[in-house]
């Protein structure tokens, strides 16, 4: 694996050889952003510039990725009634985000009102994603299955839709399905996390939430979302917009901070470009590196990552990175 540290390009023959058990690395992978006190992103660091501590013990970085790594994004849009006036803004924001896509970057569109909904697949094509936005805002994606759904109320084929409440004890699901003016932000966030976690081919996994922050319907809690995001190495970016009932920013900021993401407030059209340029820059300027675990990688680890550069703050997340022979 030393060879991989020196070069972030590989050949199939290299990957095939890397599958032998003797060469299996037991690595923990981390994605880190370094921000200078003046707010600019620091993007010229090398492996030597980071200090890594795992369960109290300093570790050497064995694989340092400085090549462009694609981003997988779940864009989850609050479609509750309080946000209807912001649809044009959201559409423009998604356009700004996807227009800057680099090779391999991809997104999936989802939404949430009283329940979370999700499109069928990822796409890297801005035109296809704009069509997805239209579908999402029009209410035609699929119900996002997860532990926030009361399964007993689903129809027999398990693919319930907005048109039917299914069989059996309807209770929670039916109640929420009928209440389209509800807002299940944290269920939507959990749905987005599941979606990007299922991609699994890139360590840069992100959920972008467009919402006013006024949750009144979720089965999931903020703590659930943070836990789930950290489990799958997903960063949550909260993009707050002003709803008809105002904006609640506390939890949105908290989730962003605890998952290594970011928080933005879109006050109007003029702030869209700046916000999404910033999100794109942050994601693309992340460092991704791996180090040998102090103990089994799958065990609980307390990790501290710090850039040695002066006057900087390091935000980092443990991420999941597929390697030949098995996910680490």
């Amino acid at each position: 694996m030393r060879a991989l540290a020196a070069a972030t390009i590989v050949a199939l023959s290299t990957l095939v050889l890397a599958q032998s058990p003797a060469s299996q690395p037991q690595l923990i992978w981390v994605a880190a952003s370094v921000v200078h006190d003046d707010g600019h992103l620091v993007s010229n660091l090398s492996a030597r510039d980071f200090e890594v501590v795992d369960n109290g013990q300093r570790r050497e970085i064995s694989v340092f990725r400085n090549d462009p790594i694609p981003i997988a994004i779940a864009i989850m849009i609050d479609v509750s009634r309080s946000l209807e006036a912001n649809y044009a803004l959201v559409r423009r924001a998604v356009g700004a985000l996807t227009a800057a896509f680099q090779p391999g970057d991809r997104a999936i569109l989802g939404s949430f009102d009283a329940l979370p909904w999700i499109s069928s697949r990822f796409s890297a094509r801005p035109a296809a994603l704009q069509r997805s936005v239209t579908e999402v805002l029009g209410g035609s994606p699929f119900l996002c299955d997860g532990d926030w759904i009361d399964k007993t109320s689903l129809s027999k084929d398990g693919r319930d839709s907005r048109q039917g409440t299914g069989l059996g004890a309807t209770s929670e699901f039916a109640r929420r399905q009928k209440k389209h003016d509800g807002s299940a932000i944290w269920d939507g966030a959990a749905c987005g996390i599941n979606a990007v976690a299922s991609d699994g081919e890139t360590p840069r996994r992100v959920v972008v939430l467009f919402t006013d922050g006024q949750d009144n319907m979720s089965s999931s809690t903020v703590a659930d979302v943070v836990s789930r995001a950290n489990q799958y190495g997903v960063m949550v970016y909260s993009v707050a917009v002003m709803g008809s009932e105002g904006t609640a920013t506390g939890d949105l900021r908290s989730v962003a901070e605890q998952t290594g993401g970011g928080y933005f407030f879109l006050s109007g059209e003029d702030t869209v470009a700046a916000a999404f340029t910033r999100i794109g820059d942050e994601l693309r300027h992340q460092y991704v590196f791996g180090f040998a675990a102090n103990g089994k990688p799958e065990a609980r680890h307390t990790i501290v990552v710090k850039a040695r550069a002066a006057n900087t703050t390091t935000r980092f997340r443990r991420v999941s990175m597929d390697m030949p022979g098995g996910a680490i």
């Binding site: 972030t8 199939l12 090549d67 997988a72 697949r121 094509r125 890139t202 022979g325």
Partner: protein
């Protein structure tokens, strides 16, 4: 024209020499000449469907004997005389030319057809008369027919995305086995794809050079761009003619393609490029829907490779299939710059024919 059907649409040679004037028959309507031969005692039977009023005898027959004259005047029109009952000579459509060309001033639409029996074995002993071609539902005569071993030009694209990490060994084995089945007349290029496509489009007949490309450096894989790979393969074959194939080795789980799948599909259909796929189950399973559909539409095939032990037989099967496809062609009646539906059937029970489902009737030769 020595390469026969070297393009999706090939301009065929023209046999339209300037009609000679003078002499007994040159310049006269063919039907009138046939009537004249009848008056000379040759019992010729023909229909106005085959011997149309606009058909003219272009050059004076060299023969003087009526039966030989008959052959000479029919041949330029794709017709021939066949012995009928009671000493008659029936005017019928001539058999297609065996050299892959036919004698008219039109273009031929090439169709590569794979025919298998009920047990899946290739059926290789059919003749032109066994095939039925329909263009937008209208039956068309087979104008070109070949069933000998044909060279192929192929772009091989391997999916090296993370979802296939567990299957890399099988992928590499499959490609080595397939390349080993290529003949010295075949030419190929080989590339890899994840979220980006790494493909040297230069074609080679050297197995060694081809397999050496497995060591081409590529970005660390972080996504799957299947349609981008198909488009890159199609583009690599763009300047080529003959039997062109894109062979994909993948799990079918696209998430990062930048090209428009519909546009790529249309270009493949327009150019008559077949897509074959070897599908392997990766870490997130297998998605056959889009690749199956694409392979089917282009006359190719998608086959799942379930176990390492299946590799030699599966690769032999695909290589044999590509080399032993029938080349059949017809002259399109209408060149309207539209996509035409194609239907190819075989007049033999218990067999299945697989061929492209459409072609683009270009009014201008794209080459």
């Amino acid at each position: 024209m020595t390469r026969g059907l070297t393009a999706a649409v090939v301009v065929m040679c023209v046999m339209c020499g300037a009609a000679q004037t003078g002499g007994r028959y040159a310049g006269r309507p063919l039907a009138g000449v046939l009537q004249d031969l009848r008056s000379r005692g040759l019992n010729v039977v023909f229909s106005s469907e085959l011997v149309r009023p606009e058909m003219v005898v272009r050059s004076e027959p060299a023969s003087t004997e009526p039966r030989a004259i008959l052959d000479e005047v029919l041949e330029p029109h794709g017709l021939r005389a066949e012995a009928g009952p009671k000493g008659t000579w029936l005017v019928v459509r001539a058999e297609p030319q065996a050299d892959g060309q036919f004698k008219s001033g039109t273009r031929a639409v090439p169709i590569y057809a794979t025919v298998t029996d009920a047990s899946g074995h290739l059926v290789t002993n059919l003749s032109a008369a066994d095939f039925l071609i329909s263009d937008n539902g209208t039956r068309q005569p087979v104008a070109v027919f070949k069933n000998d071993v044909q060279a192929i030009t192929i772009a091989i694209l391997l999916d090296t995305s993370p979802s296939l990490f567990p299957a890399f060994g099988r992928e590499a084995s499959a490609v080595r086995a397939f390349v080993g089945r290529l003949t010295h007349d075949d030419r190929a290029c080989l590339g890899m794809f994840s979220h980006v496509v790494t493909l040297d489009p230069s074609l080679t007949a050297s197995h060694h050079a081809l397999l050496g490309r497995l060591s081409t450096p590529a970005p660390w894989p972080a996504g799957t761009a299947i349609w981008d790979a198909v488009e890159a393969g199609r583009s690599a074959l763009d300047a080529e003619g003959g039997r062109r194939v894109v062979l994909l080795v993948s799990d079918g789980n696209d998430n990062a393609s930048r090209v428009d799948p519909d546009a790529t599909r249309a270009r493949l259909q327009r150019d008559g490029v077949m897509v074959y796929a070897i599908l392997l189950r990766g870490r997130v399973g297998l998605d056959t829907s889009e690749i199956d559909s694409l392979a089917n539409a282009t006359g190719g095939r998608a086959a799942e490779l379930k176990a390492a032990e299946d590799i030699p037989a599966a690769m032999r099967r695909i290589a044999d299939e590509l080399h032993h496809q029938y080349v059949i062609g017809f002259a399109p009646v209408t060149l309207d710059d539209k996509l035409h539906g194609l239907d190819v059937k075989v007049k033999r029970a218990g067999v299945t024919v697989r061929a492209r489902k459409s072609y683009f009737a270009a009014s201008a030769d794209p080459r």
